[in-house]
């Protein structure tokens, strides 16, 4: 189990017109080990992210709870309508309570 979570990767536009719908792509490197896998007769210890929270200008936008069926290196895409200059905040939390954060600003074009 690593001591720190990886640095999240966010792909989203830097600017948008008022009312425009923009695509947000997030990738978080993480093994998402379920504790069910074996290698060389040994069980690989469980190491899972539990959730991803996304806020838009301080308000809840999307909250994901991950279970065993979410693939390693969780990748998510979703769509947001931008009405004003905005800040997105992303937080991933693992089962040990460690967090990784990222922010992304979108200016009005």
């Amino acid at each position: 189990m690593s001591t720190n979570l990886a640095t999240p990767r966010i792909r989203a536009p830097r600017s948008a017109r008022a009312g425009e719908v923009v695509e947000i792509r997030t990738l978080m490197e993480h093994p998402m080990e379920t504790g069910l896998r074996q290698e060389g007769g040994r069980t690989i210890p469980r190491d899972m992210l539990t959730r991803m929270r996304v806020r838009l200008n301080g308000e809840a936008l999307l909250e994901a709870e991950f279970r065993n069926g979410t693939a390693a290196n969780p990748f998510h895409v979703f769509f947001v309508r931008i009405e004003r200059a905005s800040e997105l905040e992303f937080t991933w939390t693992d089962e040990a309570g460690r967090t990784a954060r990222a922010t992304h600003r979108i200016a009005l074009a």
């Binding site: 809840a60 999307l62 709870e65 279970r67 069926g69 979410t70 693939a71 895409v77």
Partner: protein, 141 residues
Amino acid sequence: MNLTRRATLALTLLPFAAAASDDALNAAIRAEIGEATPTEGGITLRVPPVAENGGQVPVTVLVDSPQSAERHVTAIHLFATRNPTPGIASFKLGPALARAEIQTRIRMAENQTLVVLARMNDGSVQRATAEIRVATGGCLT
């Protein structure tokens, strides 16, 4: 290597066939939607008909919903019928999401059904399923 040989290879690499029971699936569903009775339809699922790598199966869920104050999706839940455990992920949607669409990547241990439930703001639940064939299992290997 053709698909049949690959599937056979995948099976021999699995230490055991540890699929969750129907009871576990039903319990996981009840834990998310309570006693609500889902209505079929209203959800578009985009999945590959055959997943070469069961460890990374791309899934798009799009619920037919205006995402207006009057009618919007509040949560989307994904379940696997033949994984060692049924839970995949749950998503809570906020009002600023432009549409009730989530793209994610999931694990599939073997050929099975993906079950997706969407809860609407009025408490009703919609359901859709997709069959996914898996060439190489993605949970235990």
